[in-house]
Symmetry: D2
Subunit: 362 residues, 4 copies
Amino acid sequence: MSGNTIGKLFTVTTFGESHGAGLGAIVDGCPPGISLTEEDLQHDLDRRKPGTSRYTTARREADKVRIVSGVFEGKTTGTPIGLLIENTDQRSKDYGNIAQSFRPGHADYTYTHKYGFRDYRGGGRSSARETAMRVAAGAIAKKYLKESFGVSFKGCVTQIGPIEAEQFDWEQVPHNPFFFPDTTKLDALDEFLRGIIKQKDSIGAKVMVVAEGVPVGLGEPVFDRLDADLAHSLMSINAVKGIEIGDGFAVVNQKGSEHRDEITPEGFLSNHAGGVLGGISSGQPIVAYLALKPTSSIGISGKTIDSDGNPTDIITKGRHDPCVGIRAVPIAEAMMAITLLDHLMRHRAQNTGVECNTPIVE
Amino acid sequence: MSGNTIGKLFTVTTFGESHGAGLGAIVDGCPPGISLTEEDLQHDLDRRKPGTSRYTTARREADKVRIVSGVFEGKTTGTPIGLLIENTDQRSKDYGNIAQSFRPGHADYTYTHKYGFRDYRGGGRSSARETAMRVAAGAIAKKYLKESFGVSFKGCVTQIGPIEAEQFDWEQVPHNPFFFPDTTKLDALDEFLRGIIKQKDSIGAKVMVVAEGVPVGLGEPVFDRLDADLAHSLMSINAVKGIEIGDGFAVVNQKGSEHRDEITPEGFLSNHAGGVLGGISSGQPIVAYLALKPTSSIGISGKTIDSDGNPTDIITKGRHDPCVGIRAVPIAEAMMAITLLDHLMRHRAQNTGVECNTPIVE
Amino acid sequence: MSGNTIGKLFTVTTFGESHGAGLGAIVDGCPPGISLTEEDLQHDLDRRKPGTSRYTTARREADKVRIVSGVFEGKTTGTPIGLLIENTDQRSKDYGNIAQSFRPGHADYTYTHKYGFRDYRGGGRSSARETAMRVAAGAIAKKYLKESFGVSFKGCVTQIGPIEAEQFDWEQVPHNPFFFPDTTKLDALDEFLRGIIKQKDSIGAKVMVVAEGVPVGLGEPVFDRLDADLAHSLMSINAVKGIEIGDGFAVVNQKGSEHRDEITPEGFLSNHAGGVLGGISSGQPIVAYLALKPTSSIGISGKTIDSDGNPTDIITKGRHDPCVGIRAVPIAEAMMAITLLDHLMRHRAQNTGVECNTPIVE
Amino acid sequence: MSGNTIGKLFTVTTFGESHGAGLGAIVDGCPPGISLTEEDLQHDLDRRKPGTSRYTTARREADKVRIVSGVFEGKTTGTPIGLLIENTDQRSKDYGNIAQSFRPGHADYTYTHKYGFRDYRGGGRSSARETAMRVAAGAIAKKYLKESFGVSFKGCVTQIGPIEAEQFDWEQVPHNPFFFPDTTKLDALDEFLRGIIKQKDSIGAKVMVVAEGVPVGLGEPVFDRLDADLAHSLMSINAVKGIEIGDGFAVVNQKGSEHRDEITPEGFLSNHAGGVLGGISSGQPIVAYLALKPTSSIGISGKTIDSDGNPTDIITKGRHDPCVGIRAVPIAEAMMAITLLDHLMRHRAQNTGVECNTPIVE
């Protein structure tokens, strides 16, 4: 698990750079007997695909995934699933001074210091393009969790810049380019983002992701709490600067009598905890929020230094996502699914079938 | 790494329950040759010790730590350091209906479902008492990072309920029972917390933790980003519901031109990123915030069910921390130190002495 | 998992030195609900205890183990089990030139180079005394495997020096101080070992360990094969220089038609494989052999160098085990049990209850 | 680390089946700045390639490896190296009753019970074809260890059936199809193997692998001893049934005065230990032996059962390796290199540059 692997039992290891030959992943520990085709992975891949609207980068990638191993006669074999996406839109272009200068807000400076040099083509390994493999791997976890345990995932953008969702119509999320649940704000969003694009600037966003039907009992005290591992997997998504579980930072000004979710024979009376108590799933929906920073790939000149340490200015050419948070929704769902499946497997390992099933089918 | 271990190279594994015989930990992978005594660990242990002010639980624990192994002639040997704290204040008492009912907001319900039954004495393993061992282990990491790399840590409480710090006088933090940096708010805090205690209620808090002098280059893309691992280790602290790195959730309404930290030959012009770019330390101070929920151990009756599923009411007897966030400061410093040392070792492993030292001494 | 931890799901982490304050271990991931007392661990501890016969070291240790955590009301809770044995026979003595010289055949030289210095008291961390905690932890694994799956373990010494067992009477193994299955060789062994002791020398031994009733399907291709993990855990025992699974090195001169274990509806016709096919348990008994070197702690002077690199002679004072292989039997059983339980949990994690139970109850 | 990953810091994760679309691997944690081309990997791949002599399987595979990521401008970047080999010789053929029956001595029976079904094409994941990726990954480790630390590896076949090498001329090993160091035995080997082929049978072999120039101090007590991890990585090679370090099973009849390697200012006087003392490298050559069983893919009919449990006979069609041990030499070198590099990185992580370099440059 040298940095590019996540999970302890259901593990996902990715490789590939933004403008290299391609991207790949190995999904190891996947339960056997799951019917799986490349189409099962393509749906979510298409949801995060670039070039789908005026609000995303112009880069065109088919993002067609190929299952190289681990599936036989349409079913997972329990052996590692090899996934591969060939990069198609990697025409060699002039990277200009990007090769010699550190783009502020990007990983250029830190990668160069860590490794001595870096693949500067489109950000190399630090590019969000890597998340395509997370989405593909997550689709496998989502399928298994849905079919075997009835766990489902949904996500949306709850805020872009100053514009917050006030109504939650989940039905509408797939039907607008912002993954936004509040249709009364779509025009405002369109106008706002057109302005951002015109200014050649970018903007942050807040994403919500929810898992429903999660069994009780998932999560390993004390360090591998379910919420701690979710914080890890969600914070590992590019541009994320903050994570909340349930009420998140609102708890700072809550009283115990207000926050604790009271219990009745009919169930919990509230879900301030976001579905996790003492690091273990309570059976309520698991709710998490992500804060995504505005991308630093903007058309406004900024101060930086070159590799010799001399001051210079830098500007990003071409069209980039004005709001990278928008395309983060399927990625966040994928990471939550990977972490939940990993914990379901960890839970199942420690408990005998019976003890394990009791809480799980509850 | 079965849940009770954190770290990949500098690992801390803890054991023990709130009212069991004692608490312990194994610190493995510690560099050899560090001069270490029990006194070195006691300072931070005393900072989190209960019973130190009217704002903390009445429980009296000496929290005297014993180094059982791994230190020879006053120096760490490179072999595992065994730590032990015997519980002294565990007089058998009447746990009343706590044994038969699930305290809302606590781990009683989830532990029982996960494991089939639970140690109900003072919360058993889910008690924050376990964090004493984190503080002891963290003190080792802090000492090594300070002496060998000049890395230092500091933390404070920036908000309790509605009262926020507006001035930052780090010198004052150790001199008030709230770990608060704004002395102009101390009277207000005292009055506010007396009110909370009188109401037999509790309140949340926001904690800030900072690491200074961190080498450039720590953090492993793509999943084990430094900020992702920090989110994991900090979220694993009891009662934490939210984590921010740098500007955190404020980035949602920031523009790229505003957020990106520009670079000059003299250094970065700002630190919105909180010291991490692309998951790798930039050499700037690493800044994180934690949201801590109000404890559910309060003297106000709440609805719940008993182990037979029948409705009942429950109330917590005795005096508990009205604001558990206060004592979380040394714990947060410890967890950040453990994670940073683990990553420093991971970085050093992949790079040869020279390549490794270049960024580190920068 | 920094070297002192074994297992992925059922993990055992040990600490402590030969002449330090004590020894300890954390057993993490243990299934909940197992009835467990200190007596359950003491039986195997007594089997490896020193000072039980003229053929073992004179050191007297009660080796009384204390369960510090993880057990509540007589049952495991699923949280980490803390184990502790205080060293009693550690009277400060004159270590003479052992502190300044490297005993040939011991870890003195390598520890000093690895860590810069070493705890020279009785070998410090490199002493086989550490294995007491393995035996205690293994007893937990053995109890669970026996009660929940009917898996049992047995071990014996099959050869000491030139004397090989030719008859296998497992009933007799506990009734002689050599753990030897061939009672016709006991007099010869006694005479042989008396000679070794008189010569102040030591001798090697071969140990056999067998697990019966092992479910089909345990083991993870391709690197974490069951036999590969067994080789790791058994080779990690002090003084072990060779590992065989099933026919071991005899396969070098076997033909395929002779080695392959044919299958009939009544089962396998032979067990040349030693119960593992393709790295996965076949349901047949798992058979392993260990080669243990003669201890280098002998009363015959040997050439070495001191810490300044000057040539010197060294001799070990006091009585030591003339054949450390004898006491290795309970240790080998413990390590096999720990590895099998870890793999049973790994198997259970990947398969749903049904798929998992099918092979397991077969 | 779900079974298909080896290593803790320098990790190799493989995927792919014998007759699937292809094989792949991710090499993670590789130090940056190593000049690396596909040719660097091809040399060892060609050494294990099938179809090179009458003594190996007739299957024709180019085994051309493609580096998909992790290398930029001819140098490793420190990010994951993706490797891919497309299968070319996978013409769909009639697998006959192999699909319905369990070949004795193969993994058919155990895979089916573990996973519920299996990819029966050429053994699927259990085929030794997977080792091609180990060889490719090992070539990277070998290159770095050679260029940065002067560590070199060599291996040979020391015994095939009854024919043992008595002379060791390492120069000759690459110049005969048996990787045999004793040219006086080549004719006997040729005659013996022709006989085995004529009988449609197979034979076992013994392989020796040696690492020279290994730094002092590699290995992590107590469970991750260097020899224990070597036993794991070498035993994970298909068909291996036994592992020896240094004198191996010969120590059973050795005396302490004979086995211990005495030390002089000029170095050790012998190397019975095989370069490992107390689980840590001593600076002497690391010597290991592997016992490889005869393949069960033979043209002689054998008893087995079909998937319905009915008795049947089975026979392997086509030409297979009469002695799989022959092609195991480059695989064993690769696994030893991977394990040594992983431990070199683990050692470097715990020690500061200076402390680390002292033993390493010694």
